[in-house]
């Protein structure tokens, strides 16, 4: 069953076509990689899907319902969560609070009930906190719960961002270069974490440049180059696709011109 | 009557436009509302009035000195109140600008006293009647002078090296630096020009209303900022258009709607514009 459907999505900035007629889908329980060279339009795609940008043309739908025109917070409530290429944590909060922020939309506590909390609210808060601590344990940050988010090391911040996104209990989790800036140890840890998520049946859409991660994890890979899908399929096909190698390394026939 | 009001509005509008140019240029390059712009306007007027009062200098020297003093004040202000705050949350320089505005206003109160000062020289302006419309040559002179300064500024921005460099800094500071442009210097230059124009506007208004006083800059400053937003902030022709529109709307509104709410008209228009067309009439930089 198709969870996310991206249809003829386009975004032009002035004369530049950052995303140009991109279509692909993500099925339930699937892990899809979105790869391509720098400037191919991957992050723009993410921003269009999560509603931070308005497309020039095209549509995005989740479970058959169009997300067109919906603000990012409604999309989040429909089940989209994401992380950012340059990590964006709430620096003024501690680690636990960051994750609790992710629980926000599942709590739905009314204004007055939050001010004079009865047993129901307190129970909801306790549940949220338990869940947040579980997620912190999952990403290996249980010990860091009380640290200010600012004080974490870079790799820990990446994992915290994933925990916060998971707290949203998303139908689809979108990760934008989760391995960027990580050393090889940290990348391995991340792989293990993502495999764990896969086993739990979480649907993932990942932008990543680390091919080991992409090829080892994804069921399907979509390759973008200058704003268009140039290839899509299982990793075994993608790794043999000459167009993909071209996109990364440049064209063989270009050489003739030079 | 209508034409007379229109002309009054155009005159005030031209002056608002001059101040609005300063706001819009500074906002364009730093993203900062320089709330003290109205106080710079007031200082320009005071310097010219005091110099003329000595009886030692002629009108044009005093006018130039007023503009120069305003320009220097603007540059000093940027150094002291804004540069140390660059890169912090946008609210911080905004509040600093408010502080600077209060400071300068009360400084003027201490230095010059609370009373209105008349403009020291009397011009022998005649009112010419053209087709039944009484045209004061004072209004004519203000319109011509303001228009002249605006044309000069537009030419400067469009055709000179430094003008283009200022625009480049407003668009992309890092890349401007790669071109060898010293961003700090361009910011100072922007303050210099914007403040000089405000100083000129202050002197014109001091002549027009024959009054100079410490709080004279408050409302024209705020209205000029509204004009800058109205025209699309960061947009130079927009600031001129916005200033003129506001001046005319205010004058007609005071005449035909209610004079008690004259000062509210500019802000009412501002709020309406922001609600329905936040990017201003002409497109601003912020979109």
């Amino acid at each position: 069953m198709t969870l996310l459907a991206v249809n003829e999505l386009s975004k032009y900035f002035g004369g530049v076509k950052a995303v140009d007629g991109v279509s692909f889908g993500v099925d339930h329980g699937e892990i899809v990689g979105l790869i391509g060279p720098n400037g191919a339009g991957k992050t723009t795609c993410f921003n269009l899907i999560s509603g931070l940008l308005t497309p020039t043309r095209g549509s995005v739908s989740l479970l058959g319902h169009s997300l067109g025109g919906l603000a990012p917070y409604y999309r989040s409530r429909r089940g989209l969560a994401r992380t950012f290429q340059n990590i964006q944590l709430f620096g003024g909060m501690d680690v636990l609070e960051n994750v609790l922020t992710g629980c926000h939309q599942r709590q739905e506590i009314g204004a007055f009930r939050a001010l004079w909390p009865g047993r129901g609210v307190r129970r909801a808060e306790t549940r949220a906190e338990e869940r947040a601590r579980e997620l912190l344990a999952l990403v290996g940050l249980a010990e860091r719960a009380d640290f200010p988010a600012d004080a974490l090391a870079y790799g820990e911040q990446r994992r915290l961002e994933i925990a916060r996104a998971l707290a949203q209990e998303p139908r689809l989790l979108m990760l934008d270069e989760p391995a960027a800036g990580l050393n090889s140890r940290e990348t391995e840890d991340l792989m293990t974490l993502l495999q764990e998520l896969r086993e739990r049946g979480i649907t993932l859409l990942i932008i990543e440049h680390d091919m080991t991660l992409i090829m080892g994890l994804c069921h399907r890979v979509v390759v973008l180059d200058h704003g268009q899908v140039i290839a899509a399929g299982p990793p075994s096909e993608i790794r043999r696709d000459p167009r993909v190698i071209e996109a990364y390394l440049g064209r063989e026939e270009d050489d003739g011109d030079l | 009557m209508f034409l007379q009001q229109l002309l009054n509005g155009l005159t005030a509008g031209a002056v608002y436009a001059l101040i609005a140019l300063g706001y819009t240029m500074i906002y364009g390059i730093l993203g900062l509302i320089n709330f003290a712009q109205g106080e710079i306007y007031m200082f320009g007027a005071f310097v010219a009035v005091l110099l003329l009062g000595t009886g030692q200098v002629n009108f044009f020297v005093a006018f130039a000195a007023g503009m120069a003093a305003a320009a220097i004040l603007g540059v000093v202000l940027e150094r002291v109140a804004f540069r140390p705050l660059r890169g912090s949350h946008p609210l911080v320089p905004l509040i600093s600008a408010i502080g600077a505005s209060i400071f300068l206003q009360s400084l003027a109160l201490l230095l010059f006293g609370p009373n209105d000062r008349p403009f020291p020289i009397q011009f022998n302006f005649r009112t010419i009647t053209i087709a039944g419309l009484p045209l004061s040559s004072l209004q004519g002179a203000i319109l011509v002078a303001a228009l002249g300064l605006m044309v000069l500024l537009l030419l400067f921005v469009r055709y000179t090296r430094y003008g283009k460099a200022i625009v480049a800094c407003a668009l992309d500071q890092d890349t401007a630096r790669l071109m060898g442009i010293n961003v700090d210097r361009m910011v100072a230059l922007t303050f210099l020009i914007g403040s000089a124009l405000s100083g000129a506007a202050g002197i014109m208004m001091a002549i027009y209303y024959n009054a100079t006083y410490p709080r004279m800059g408050l409302l024209p400053g705020l209205k000029a900022f509204s004009a800058a937003i109205l025209g699309g902030v960061g947009n130079i022709p927009g600031a001129i258009l916005g200033g003129v529109l506001l001046g005319v709307a205010e004058s007609l509104g005071a005449a035909y709607v209610s004079s008690g709410y004259k000062d509210a008209i500019a802000f009412a228009i501002l709020i309406l514009v922001l609600l329905f067309r936040p990017q201003g009439i002409l497109k601003g930089r912020g979109d």
């Binding site: 960027a180 080991t212 390394l249 | 630096r177």
Partner: protein, 241 residues
Amino acid sequence: MLTLKSVQAGYGKLTVLKGISFHVRPGEVVTLIGGNGAGKSTTLRAVSGLLPLWRGVVEFNGADLTRLPPERIVTLGLALVPEGRRIFASLSVTANLELGAFHRRDQRQARRDLEEIRERFPLLKERASQPAGTLSGGEQQILAICRALMSRPRLLMLDEPSMGLAPRMVNQVYKILRELKDEGTTLLLIEQNARAALKLADRGYVLETGRIILDGSAAELREDPEVQRAYLGKGYREVWE
């Protein structure tokens, strides 16, 4: 001409360059290649002064660039065509070119250079008064290169000039770079388009996660399977072989 000695730099907590040393000799075309996140753009940002160095030294023709701001560095003859072109979108094509020569003292000569460039690239003449933002991506890239040339650089640095461009435009951009090379311009080129870059370059360095792991002549690197591995990211071998 340009020498980097154990340069370290990064953003916030993240160390991107973990001690980079390389050099460029006059008249050479040198390329830095490597996978995403290897630190290529960061290297150029550090050399051009946009990013402060944490450690190490950058020298250019005997001058120490380490603490100089970018606006001073460009006056020494070191120009950068930044990643993503960064043209001044609302200014005219001509104004963009003129700004490239902003710091030059010989403005009269700069005007002659402008004419020359416009003769050479008719596109820039035809669109002279059009806002630069209305150009296509490839046209913007050509404009960005010409804007940098207007400063008469002794060393021209290019950050991924083929990024996001259609193959036809990549060819056109590389044709220009080839001509510059033939005229004797010294180039430092960062590329993801490794084939094109190594075809053009005399020498190359391969970066991986903030370190130089390989260097050699372009011809050697073209044949080296390790390059493809570094370039396509970790695990390339398992993936593509």
